[in-house]
Amino acid sequence: MADRVLDVQTMAMRNDLREIQRVEQMIRDFITQRHLPLPLARDFVLAADELLTNIISYGYDDAREHLIQLQLQQNQEAVVLRIEDDARAYNPLLAPMPDETANVSDRPIGGLGIYIVRQLVDDLEYQHENGKNILIITKRFLLPKGS
């Protein structure tokens, strides 16, 4: 059975790194107001930061202002964040994974952000529709008994 959708909240942000703090606040408020497990907020904030930083830093070929649409969704057993942008088509699922065992000198500087996201969430999905990149991250949780 599909996980039932209980609540949805949306927001739009500009392609400006300073906007990420506002997203962070929205995620924290969303999790705390619904009394969801707090580690969810920590993991979601970091995952969203990594994805949005990539989009804003590397995704755009012009210097114009762009809007990124965000949607946070609470399901019965998961929180889902959907990020939609009009940046250059880019599928982060195809990014190479860093070698976790390499030492300091051999370890490459890039590729870390998406690796962190994959470690933090249960599901990372990418679609490209109507010229838009759509990223969907899902993290499942179990509510404590009796709540």
Binding site: I20, T53, A102, S105, L112, I116, Q119
Partner: protein
């Protein structure tokens, strides 16, 4: 993001407070690289007041550790809080960087 520099004999201790993300990590990067350029070889970075780190911050530590190794120096991080430690663990950085539990331990090394 704040970096406070402190001297103990031939050691330089850099105390970080605040967040290391894509907006703020550059401050730390410039600070550490400048210290190494100026001849510092044994740098201790105290992370007790560091509340948040993303890959942008990890990149700075990795770059700084590489630079320190090149000049036969050493970069040691100390007193990571649980959230920051978790990000280091997730990425395998706990094993590739020198990390000590306390400042005293870092100085003794």
């Amino acid at each position: 993001m704040e970096c406070i520099e402190e001297k103990q004999n031939d050691l330089t201790i850099l105390g970080l407070s605040g967040r290391m993300d894509s907006l703020t990590s550059r401050v730390v990067e410039e600070k550490i690289l400048a210290l190494i350029e100026n001849g510092e070889r044994h740098l201790i970075v105290d992370c007790a007041q560091l509340t948040y780190i993303s890959s942008a911050g990890l990149r700075v530590f990795l770059m700084a550790a590489k630079r320190a190794t090149q000049v036969k120096g050493r970069l040691t991080l100390t007193t990571l809080n649980d959230e920051v430690q978790q990000v280091f663990d997730l990425t395998g950085f706990s094993t590739i960087l020198n990390i000590c539990r306390s400042r005293e331990e870092a100085i003794a090394n």
